[in-house]
């Protein structure tokens, strides 16, 4: 195995290192994006006991950061194709980046600028890039599940080849559309992968004490859907589990379910200091940071410090350029408040 002859395939370690390097690069881009967005949001919302800063924030409104959850987005999306569909949550920057969206247009959108992904109409909570199959983040918990199921049903009806990846959080499994959508996907044997990105918090309340039974995967199995539970901060574990599940979905064997356990290291929104949380819990979570773990794994595979630092610098540089672009751009024109509503009876008609 792993010989150096002309016909030899790359060694398992080399293949693993290549794959992990790509996953790590995606995670670094998401982390850099979230850090920059967080910085730009400071003072944006005077809630959670915080005073508004003197300088107005350039990213306004609720900003739900996926910092610390990057391995789930990167590991799952590495197994998707550009044409595959994806639905996301209010905490959706990571999924969107990992699916291949342009971070420049995303940052313009967060800043409410012209040229943003949604023309400044959506912002962080409604980030979307239909061009890469990303059918939208959603401000309503569990609302993406029925839409994902419908996209998968459409694929089946049209005889198309795409699959659908449907991300939602642990809080979503306590809403009705979760049960409805799992049932629907299974009875129609639809090509959809459900991903419960379990960060253990339902807004500012721990999910565990409010969730009966054995949790997300057990609920999927109760609907006859094969489910796996994985350490969501281990990007290689997420990648491997997603690969197996995506293969099954793509082969037409019906829906599959991935329960990825991670942790929300930030507050519910960027200005929430999460003072309600035991600091020890946060410290324990920080020790399992998915980027630190991927970094250590790459180092153990022989990736040198220079290369690792280069990966991080590339991500930071790319996101800094996106921020600079956004700060220099014009605000979304007020006239666009009246467009893209409906063809018939929209716009300035105030009767």
């Amino acid at each position: 195995m792993g010989g150096a002859g002309p016909d030899a395939r790359p060694s398992p370690d080399a293949a693993r290192r290549t794959r992990l390097t790509a996953l790590y690069a995606t995670m670094l881009r998401i982390r850099a994006f979230e850090d920059a967005a967080e910085e730009a949001s400071r003072g944006g919302v005077a809630v959670f006991g915080q005073q508004a800063a003197a300088k107005p924030a350039s990213v306004r409104g609720p900003l739900h950061l996926s910092t610390g959850q990057e391995a789930v987005a990167a590991g799952v999306c590495a197994n998707l194709r550009r044409a595959d569909y994806l639905t996301s949550t209010h905490r959706g920057h990571g999924h969107t980046i990992a699916k291949g969206a342009d971070v420049g247009r995303m940052m313009l959108e967060l800043h409410g600028r012209e040229g943003g992904s949604c023309g400044g109409r959506g912002g962080s909570m409604h980030i979307a890039d239909f061009g890469v199959g990303m059918l939208g983040a959603n401000g309503v918990v569990a609302a993406g599940l029925p839409i994902a199921v419908g996209a998968a049903h459409s694929v089946q009806i049209r005889g198309a080849a795409e699959i659908v990846a449907c991300f939602f959080g642990d809080g979503a499994i306590n809403r009705g559309p979760f049960a409805e959508s799992l049932n629907w996907a299974q009875v129609f044997r639809l090509p959809v992968l459900f991903i419960c990105e379990d960060n253990r918090w339902s807004a500012t309340t721990p999910t565990g004490p409010l969730t009966a039974g054995e949790g997300a995967a057990a609920r999927a199995r109760a609907h006859g859907i094969e489910a796996r539970t994985v350490d969501g901060n281990d990007v290689e574990a997420v990648d491997a589990a997603a690969a197996a599940l995506v293969d099954a979905v793509r082969a037409g064997r019906g829906p599959r379910f991935l329960h990825a356990i991670t942790y929300r290291v930030k507050g519910h929104v960027s200005v929430d200091p999460a003072a309600y949380r035991d600091p020890a819990e946060l410290e324990a979570a920080r020790a399992t940071d998915p980027l630190l773990r991927a970094h250590a794994a790459l180092a153990s595979l022989g990736t040198g410090d220079t290369e690792l630092q280069g990966l991080e610098a590339a991500a930071r540089t790319e996101i800094a350029a996106a921020v600079a672009l956004a700060e220099a751009a014009a605000s979304a024109p007020a006239t666009s408040a009246y467009t893209e509503i409906q063809d018939c009876g929209a716009g300035r008609w105030r009767s």
Binding site: Y85, T87, G116, S117, C118, G119, G120, R121, G122, H126, A128, D129, F130, G131, L135, G136, N138, G139, V140, A143, L145, P146, I147, A148, V149, G150, A151, A152, H153, S154, V155, Q156, I157, R158, G176, P177, E180, S181, N183, W184, V187, T339, E340, I341, Q342, D343, C344, G345, A346, W349, S351
Partner: protein
């Protein structure tokens, strides 16, 4: 052709012409609970006329996902009261999708919500909620009153690239009249059902028939009432209503829905602001629809009550 058969025929024609048009909902396979899908599953199969679980939120949400990915779904909500189980999917998802994502996607869905009092069906199967939907940007709201309009307006709704709330009245299914399937109709266009000089009476859905009966009663008393069937509530045909009301100088809006915060208030206020004319509304009292016939009758709009209102507006 009946109002129900007319809808089934219109949908069948749309499905024959365009393979992207599909129908989904509870009991649609056996023809729908009112016969408005009769024969469709036999012709188009279970993949295009989809019997679904009793999962209104996912019926509607799935239709949004289907629409975003190339289909043109016609959704059956069974009765408008059950559409409230899918209100997030209608109001926050279908109606908002195009705008909040900057026009990246479109949601060409028709959401059929049989509406209105259905004899002895009580408080959860009898409501008229058109004003709720007219309030939401992104939605078109249609309420046909005749078999011909149900044929042509359903075709127009299916052809619309935005979500359409389509309110058929549950006590009109058996109404029969000649229907020309070739008739084309634009959304947002009202119909003058009866010309008149003294007063403009605007209505829609089943109440149009009571309005016409009241107009006949008024004629017997020497009052010449013009009756307009609005047909589309959003966008409503202001040109037709204003032209009539400016001529008659009096406007009465009649609907089966509860009068308080009903859509009649919107039309009356708009006309009063624009034309400075006398206006009045008539809708149901603010009570749930009761079961006993004596109670149910209190929620119905009679032609006698409309006639009284006509008289008071003309006095």
């Amino acid at each position: 052709m009946t109002y129900a058969a007319s809808a089934a025929d219109s949908l069948a024609r749309a499905m024959r012409a365009d393979s992207r048009v599909i129908a989904l909902g509870e009991d649609v396979g056996r023809g729908g609970i009112f016969g408005q899908y009769r024969g469709l599953q036999a012709e188009f199969g279970i993949e295009r006329v989809i019997d679904t679980p009793i999962s209104e939120a996912t019926i509607m949400g799935a239709a949004v996902g289907m629409a975003l990915t190339g289909l043109r779904p016609v959704v059956e909500m069974r009765v408008v009261d059950f559409a409230l189980c899918a209100i997030d999917e209608i109001v926050n998802q279908a109606a908002k999708n195009r705008y909040m994502f900057g026009g990246q996607g479109r949601v060409p869905v028709v959401i059929r919500m049989p509406s209105g009092i259905w004899s002895a069906s009580a408080a959860q199967h009898s409501q008229s909620l058109e004003a709720w939907f007219a309030h939401i940007p992104g939605l078109v709201v249609v309420a046909p009153a005749t078999p011909q309009d149900n044929h042509a307006l359903l075709a127009a709704a299916i052809a619309c690239d935005d979500p359409v709330v389509y309110l058929e009245h549950k006590e009109l299914w058996g109404e029969s009249a000649d229907v020309d399937p070739a008739t084309r109709m634009e959304l947002g266009s009202a119909r003058v059902c009866r010309p008149g000089r003294d007063l403009t009476l605007v209505s829609w859905s089943k109440a149009v028939h009571a309005a016409l009966a009241a107009a006949e009663g008024a004629a017997a008393q020497g009052r010449d009432v013009e009756v307009i069937d609005l047909r589309t509530l959003w966008p409503w045909d202001r040109e037709t209503v204003f032209a009539s009301a400016a001529r008659t100088g009096r406007l009465l809006v009649v609907h089966e829905a509860i009068e308080v915060a009903g859509f009649g208030a919107e039309i009356a206020a708009t006309a009063a602001e624009a034309l400075g004319i006398r206006v009045a509304r008539l809708g149901a009292p603010r009570i749930p629809v009761g079961y006993a016939s004596t109670l149910e009758a209190q929620a119905r709009i009679s032609s006698a009550a409309i006639l009284d209102k006509i008289e008071s507006l003309l006095s």
